[in-house]
Symmetry: C2
């Protein structure tokens, strides 16, 4: 059997999820909000043959205490559609994934905007469907309370049907443009949706041609029960955040099983866990970079995060000693407490260092030489823990450069990652079929 191939997308809003990233020596402090930097990042990612550049999105400033917020480089960011459209003009192959909320948007707008981005980019758009995590968003949209979780997912499922229905408003061959007869398009090849559902009523048709990819690639990142079910029914890429390989294998098996149960081909949904990747020349060099980065997290923020994880006030501990033995049992998450204690022992970290890890980036991380990281990634791929990764960079530009210039060549050497794009569209990069039009037979064009 030929070696399975990794798919890699780059998590780019914010450009680093690590809260100390902007302070790293030599890092661009404004990397998240500087078009010239973002242009250079996407061009490097494209030359490294990444599948896609991924913009998360939030509809309010982050819901954190002002003492933490004022240290956060996420406070000002570009809006995804405008940024990705601008970046589409300076790239030719890399996919462009935008997050858009089904809770605080209208399907007609969303369908139009993704169709437009897909046309402008020659078939490179993807929609990360979110129901919006940050409850503060509601107050920016005239609603006192964030919609209930179950209602959000119910609306999301219907929203997906409406958007895909609108994308199918025109057959691919509807636009005749016959100067002689004066007929611009064939009205028989236009479909009016007339959707009347529980949450949404949308007439259509959309005022833009069917997207180049038929439908932009559908991405989903929810992990709750209804989140997984939505993914199984609709998604072609899943972003997720498992802690370790065992957890990811369980999630992978669960979601692929649901896809099968929904009557879909499990190869047509790619599971790409978020992975924080710190590449070093040696294992020690990589560890040092990470510790240096963690040390840039403000202690107040850090210790608050650690206290939450431990379920006890960690400010009373000596910051320069290990976590004391015999912590009080917590009625928060015992798994979380045990995990943190184990982390401290395994890496020999002080309270301060663990706190800064928790306040920096506490998710799945690959820290090591290109060879070590490539070996880990291959294991995840081979053991069905992942179909690839959503790469989170530690700091930029250096952390991104190291991935592009050191890790990618190692993955390519091992036959785990493409040396060049083989197709033109994001669907082609991901090995996904182009969906047929639900209202019209395949175009013969």
């Amino acid at each position: 059997m030929p070696q399975k191939q990794l798919h890699l997308t780059a998590f780019m809003r914010p450009v680093s999820l690590h809260s100390g990233a902007w302070r790293y020596p030599g890092a661009y402090a404004d990397a998240n909000f500087n078009l010239a930097h973002l242009t250079s990042f996407i061009q490097k990612l494209e030359s490294a043959k990444f599948d896609a550049f991924f913009m998360a999105d939030h509809l309010a400033v982050m819901n954190m205490p002002i003492e933490a917020l004022k240290r956060s480089h996420t406070i000002t960011s570009f809006e995804p559609f405008t940024l990705l459209a601008a970046l589409s003009a300076v790239t030719t192959k890399i996919g462009l994934a935008a997050t858009a909320s089904t809770t605080y948007e209208q399907p007609y707008h969303i369908a139009r905007r993704f169709a437009s981005l897909d046309h402008l980019s020659g078939g490179r758009a993807a929609w990360n469907i979110v129901t919006t995590g940050n409850p503060d968003s509601s107050k920016n949209f005239g609603q006192d309370e964030h919609m209930e979780h179950a209602d959000r997912y119910k609306r999301a499922r219907e929203f997906f049907d409406v958007v895909t229905g609108l994308w199918d408003s025109f057959a691919d061959d509807a636009f005749i443009r016959d100067k002689e007869s004066g007929i611009f398009f064939d009205p028989e090849r236009m479909h009016t949706l007339n959707h009347k559902g529980d949450s949404l009523q949308v007439k259509g048709p959309l005022n833009i041609a069917r997207p180049v990819q038929g439908w932009p690639v559908i991405v989903q990142a929810g992990q709750s029960e209804p989140g997984r079910q939505l993914a199984a029914e609709t998604a072609e890429v899943v972003f997720c955040s498992p802690r370790d390989l065992a957890g990811s294998k369980a999630l992978y098996a669960d979601i692929k099983g649901r896809v099968r149960a929904a009557g879909r081909n499990p190869d047509h949904l790619k599971i790409l866990p978020a992975a924080f990747v710190v590449v070093g020349d040696t294992a020690e060099d990589a560890q040092e970079k990470r510790l240096k980065l963690d040390s840039l997290v403000h202690y107040d923020t850090a210790i608050a995060s650690l206290s939450v994880m431990l379920g006890t006030d960690a400010r009373v501990f000596d910051p320069d000693q290990p976590i004391p033995e015999n912590l009080p049992k917590t009625n928060a998450s015992q798994t979380a407490q045990d995990g943190v204690v184990k982390l401290g022992k395994d890496e020999g970290l002080t309270v301060r260092q663990i706190a800064q890890r928790m306040g920096g980036y506490s998710g799945l991380a690959f820290v090591g030489t290109p060879e070590e990281i490539a070996t880990e990634m291959q294991q995840w791929l081979d053991e069905e823990g992942a179909d690839g990764f959503t790469v989170v960079f530690p700091f930029l530009p250096q952390g991104l450069d190291a991935v592009a210039e050191k890790l990618i060549p190692e993955l390519q050497r091992r036959g785990l990652f493409r040396k060049d794009y083989e197709g033109a569209t994001l669907r082609e990069h991901l090995g996904l079929p182009r969906p047929g039009n639900q209202f019209f037979k395949e175009s013969v064009l």
Copy 2:
């Protein structure tokens, strides 16, 4: 007194408003929906030093009978924000004006998207505030009926206050990004709007820095009583569609008077009537081009338009003869009927030709040599009928090329139009001040 200067924006959605444009010999049939063409158009407009590229917008397919719709090149168009963001990456100076509806949008989204476009383009964004003309739009947004005219304008006025309030969420100097102290921004320089009004409730702050221009340039195109009043209170550019110089002078005086009454400087609102410009090598050449173009309007559509204008069924007339004398009095608009009869006499047109004029583009037109058109434009400028024009092209690329290569040099020769951009932002091109932040003193940066 130095010669007043014209301001010119290009009406680019659709790229021609004339319904026969796409059929013109040599014209791009897909000009309205082809990124390569649109890129070449905006680059030509920028080398001709146009103030701005203007995208009208509609939230439904055009509300016309299917027999006319199927002949319309407007059926598929790019969405304005994505297109303008992409075009911002291939231009450096020209303004980018997007239409956005206050009736079917949310102010938080609109504020964010314009702020993002303004940052991405280095201060070139403008917002054409519309309340949305096409009543079919409501059905694409879950509403059976289009909101009442008065309610639409009431909401629009409040919407403007919310959007501008959100743009002012951060002082210009809020972003400290001090790596040493770890402070990214100064919370004292962030304002939470907490708007609670009749139509809208929006908390804020916006999650993006204040636009480069402070506020993107505000444009308005409504001409009803509340439309004019909204313009007087908020707009910095007015797009309008007067029939002739006398009508435009009246509108100009009315709007500038309202601006004064609102306590604003009338020089800070520019009135730019839409003008269809057909440039020829001779007057006859220009007229021939126009007649050729009109002849491409389908007779059924044309005669239906003429019947409406005359208030009587024009299908009974001989298409190849002049309009008969002694038409029945109409209880539609007698002014419209008289105007059409006069046009037929003045230009010696047949019923078919008049019908095709009405079904093609019946608004204000400048048709002639570069010298003739420059003289007319200067008269409008000098007699306070206009501060410039929103140029509508007859067909593309040729009609746009003729304006850029023949008319613009003539205007420049006469000292009526800039030879080069003097500023960097659209506000600077238009001679408009940068608004101060309503919540913070001017930045000292």
